[in-house]
Symmetry: C3
Subunit: 173 residues, 3 copies
C-alpha cells in the first residue's frame, strides 16, 4: 500500500534527522563534561573523554593517549590552580559533523581566584576533532592556542569554516 511505504520513508527520514540532532547534542555533552572533570580532578572522567590514542596539542609536544591526558589533573600547574580556585569553562562550540567524524570549534577560558575576584588567566581558541566510537563520540584530538595576538589562534578558528574536503562549511542549514 502506498500509505505504508510512505510511512517507511518518513520514518527513514526521521531517523536520519534525529541522528544528526543526537550527534550535535552528544558533542555538546562531551565538551560540557571537560570542565567539571578537570576542576574536580576526576582523572577517569577526564581520560574517558578521549579515544585511547587521542591527543591534546596545546602548543608544545602534544600529549598522546587518554591516560596521559587524564594524568594532567594530577600534576602542576593544574594541581596548584585547583588549590587556588579555578574554572575551566568551555563555551558552546560550533559543531560540524561529517559521518563518523566531527569538529567543534570555540573558546576555553581559565578563571583563577585572585584577590577579591577571579582573573581570566587564559583565553584560548579550541578545535576539537571528534570520532564516533562504539562507546559514543570521543575526542581524537584537541588543539588549543592562546588568543594573545599570535596567528595560530586565529588560524585555528578559521578552520571551522572549511570541511575536510576543502569546501566551505555550511553554517546555517
Amino acid at each position: 500500500m502506498a500509505g505504508e511505504n510512505e510511512d517507511g520513508s518518513r520514518i527513514d527520514a526521521l531517523e536520519r534527522r534525529l541522528r544528526d540532532v543526537e550527534d550535535q547534542l552528544a558533542i555538546y555533552r562531551l565538551l560540557a563534561a571537560y570542565g567539571p572533570a578537570v576542576d574536580s580532578r576526576t582523572e577517569a572522567a577526564t581520560a574517558g573523554l578521549w579515544t585511547e590514542t587521542g591527543r591534546y596539542d596545546y602548543g608544545g609536544a602534544p600529549l598522546v593517549g587518554a591516560q596521559a591526558i587524564g594524568d594532567l589533573v594530577n600534576i602542576q600547574p593544574h594541581v596548584g590552580y585547583v588549590e587556588r580556585g579555578c574554572a575551566h569553562v568551555i563555551g558552546m562550540p560550533f559543531v560540524a559533523v561529517e559521518g563518523d567524524r566531527a569538529t567543534a570549534t570555540g573558546y576555553s577560558r581559565v578563571y583563577l581566584h585572585d584577590g577579591d575576584g577571579w582573573k581570566v588567566e587564559r583565553t584560548s581558541a579550541n578545535r576539537w576533532e571528534l570520532e564516533r566510537t562504539q562507546s559514543g563520540w570521543k575526542v581524537a584530538n584537541r588543539v588549543n592556542r592562546l588568543l594573545d595576538g599570535s596567528p595560530d589562534g586565529r588560524e585555528l578558528l578559521s578552520r571551522a569554516f572549511v570541511q575536510s574536503n576543502g569546501e566551505e562549511t555550511d553554517v546555517v542549514s
Copy 2:
C-alpha cells in the same frame, strides 16, 4: 503484517530517543533563562524556573520556595549589582537525565561593571537538580559554591560523574 509492526517499533524507538533529546534541550533552555531573568529583575520569570518547593543553596541557610527565590531580584546585593551593571552567565552545563529527574553541572560567573571594563566578581560551581513537572522541567534545587580553593566547589563538580544509584555516569553515550 510484518512491515506494519516494524514501523510501530521504529516509531516507539524514535519517540524514546526524541524525548531524551527534548529533555536535554529543555534543561538548556531553563538554565539559559536564568541570567536574563535575574539581570532584568523579572521576578516572575525567576521564580517560575523553580518548583513551588524548590531550593537555592548558596552556602548559608538555603532559600526555600520559588517565591522566596524570585524575591532575590528585589533585594541587596542584587539590586546594587544591576544598577552598577552585571551579567549572571550560566555556561553550557553537563546534563544527566534519569527518568523524571536530572542534574545539570557547570559554571556560573557574575561579571560586574568596573572602571573601563568588567570584573569577574564571582565564579562558582553549580549543581542544578531538576524535576519533570506537569509544566515542564523545573529546578528542585540549585547548589552553588565559589571556586575559591575551598573543597566544596570541587566536590560539587565531581558529583556530575556519579548517578543517583552510586554508579558512574556515562559521559559519552
Copy 3:
C-alpha cells in the same frame, strides 16, 4: 486500518517535535559560529550569518545589510582587537521560536589580551531576532547593549519573557 492511521499521526507528531528541536539547535549553531567568524576575520562567514537585509544595532546608527556587517572584521577597532588577541564569546542563549521567526536572548563578552591575562573589555546583553530562510535560520537583527548600569541592557533582557503577541513566554515547557 486503525493501526496505520495511528502510525501516521504518531509520525506527524514526531516530525513537528523534531522540527522544534532542530530549530533550537540550528540557532545555537548559528550563534556559536559568530565568535570564530569575527575573531578569525572571516568576512564571508560573518556576513553569511545575517539575512541580506539584516541589521546590527549596537547603540548608534545600526549597520544594515549582511555585507556591511561582514565588513566589520576589516576595520577598526576590530582589526586592532584581533592583533592584540581577542575572543568574542556568545553564551548559550535563551531561544524562543514562533513559526518562522525566533529570538535568542543572552550575553556576549569580549576578552582582550592584557598583560599576563585577559581583560573583560565588554559585557553585553544581546537580543538576536532570527528568520527561517530558504538557506536556514539567519539573523535579521542583532541588538546589543553594554551591561554598564544603563537601563537599555536590562530592558533588552526582559523582552525574552514576552512573545510577539504581548503574552508571556513559556520558559519551561
